[in-house]
């Protein structure tokens, strides 16, 4: 069983038009840069993307938006992208906004075989409209459904040939949970190592969740808001 792919092009060749893809990352931090770019080059169309944000105009998911490859975006916050705004206004793209914690928990439920769950988040707001609500122990909850995808594109720091992954700092974010909730999870890593090289107590994503893994040739790791102290 060989999980290793040589190039991001080989990975995105598996993705048909119209697919639903979860893409890890928070802002531009911890995004699968190489897979996103390969998808843009391949030109796969009518995609539904599930990701916390929509990138910026010229980086990350923003590049797929600019190439008009998206049909729908499911996210929690999309404020940093003018092209996205334009496409929403013209109706070229559908958008579904979900509270960040509910987005994470729905994906977790999808990966963990949970049929649905009650969360306090969004009760009494537009988020709860049309949804079942329930009072449990005096507190009000909203029923939320699991979320799954055809593919998950995740970015990790280091991974091994069996698909085990570890992450670095806040580049972890949505990557581990998305890795669990897709039919086919493809991981790109900065360094691909032999099994046994990663501390088995420190592995965050067990290889069982990862179908394909590749080492990205390079990482730009663009910074969205460079804030420094003197």
């Amino acid at each position: 069983m060989n999980k290793v792919l040589q190039r991001a092009e080989d990975a995105v060749a598996l993705v048909p038009d119209g697919a639903t893809i979860m893409i890890g990352g928070f802002g531009l931090c911890g995004i699968p840069e190489n897979l996103i770019d390969a998808l843009r080059i391949r030109g796969t169309k009518d995609l539904t993307i599930i990701s916390n944000n929509a990138g910026v105009d010229d980086f990350g998911i923003g590049r797929l938006l600019r190439a008009r490859q998206l049909k729908k975006m499911i996210a929690s916050y999309v404020g940093e992208n003018k092209e996205f705004e334009r496409q929403v206004i013209t109706g070229e793209i559908d958008v579904e906004l979900i509270p960040q914690g509910t987005l994470a928990e729905r994906i977790r439920a999808g990966g963990a075989g949970i049929g649905g769950f009650f969360t306090p988040t969004g009760f009494g707001t537009v988020v709860a409209e049309g949804k079942e609500t329930r009072v449990i122990d005096g507190k009000s909850f909203v029923f939320e459904q699991p979320l799954r995808a055809d593919f998950a594109f995740v970015k990790a720091w280091r991974g091994d040939r069996k698909g085990n992954l570890i992450y670095r700092r806040t580049a972890r974010n949505f990557n581990p949970v998305m890795a669990t909730a897709a039919k086919v999870t493809i991981a790109e890593v900065e360094e691909l190592v032999e099994p046994g090289r990663l501390d088995p107590d420190a592995i965050v994503t067990p290889g069982i969740f990862v179908r394909h893994i590749l080492q990205g040739p390079s990482y730009e790791k663009r910074i969205e808001k460079r804030t420094v102290r003197l």
Binding site: G101, L103, V228, R229
Partner: protein
């Protein structure tokens, strides 16, 4: 009058208790971190997956893999740790965050909060705000008392779409500290250079004024 924002965040900082785990919202709330009293130790939570947020980095320390929920580069303090978004919001939703400080567009007499959208303006999304107000043990609103146009933000009833119903515990503005109680909004303190009448004038909600109103 002192800088409004400085006054607000300094007053909010006095609400911090030793050992608190605190989530500071984007914008003005982030500044509270600069005023933590020297004799207490708090831990800052960033919902993108970090407990133990440190100050902004120097140029040499900048790390693209280390940002806060506002997407700004930050540092970590010793004893910090990282976790996924799912684990981060499990922490929030499960009531483990002692305190969150957030900005607001409107707050009302029931403690309802609106801070995520204005109909007709572009919709950016709620991010983690709805989770934070539903999950944190205590929600403090740090905001200017009125709108830029001179209108009221503390209302009888919010008119904008809610972030959460009955979620606010305390409102801190440059004019007043107001506690949300079952009976309504109680004026706890007013700024040293204002009067109760002045605060009332800038507040649409009914304020309950106790015998003793403090100064800050």
């Amino acid at each position: 009058m002192r800088d409004k924002r400085g006054r607000i965040v300094q007053r909010v900082a006095r609400e911090l208790k030793d050992g608190d785990y605190v989530n500071l919202g984007i914008g003005m709330p982030t500044l509270v971190a600069n005023h933590v009293p020297a004799d207490i130790d708090i831990t800052l939570h960033s919902e993108n997956g970090l407990l133990g947020v440190g100050p902004f980095p120097t140029d040499a320390e900048i790390d693209p893999d280390l940002i806060n929920a506002g997407k700004e580069t930050v540092t970590e303090v010793p004893g910090s740790c990282y976790f996924s978004s799912a684990d981060s919001f499990a922490m929030v939703r499960g009531g483990h965050i002692d305190l969150t400080v957030l900005g607001a567009l409107q707050v009302d007499e029931e403690g309802n909060l609106a801070n995520w959208m204005i109909p007709g303006k572009k919709v950016k999304g709620m991010g983690g705000a709805m989770d934070l107000v539903a999950g944190a043990r205590r929600v403090i609103i740090a905001m200017e008392h009125g709108t830029k146009e001179g209108g009221a933000k503390i209302l009888k009833r919010c008119t904008l779409p809610l972030t959460g119903p009955r979620v606010v515990d305390l409102i801190v503005t440059e004019l007043a500290v107001i506690e949300v109680t079952d009976k309504g909004l109680v004026l706890k303190e007013i700024a040293e250079d204002t009067t109760i009448e002045d605060v009332k004038k800038h507040t649409d909600a009914t304020l309950i004024v106790p015998d003793h109103v403090g100064r800050f």
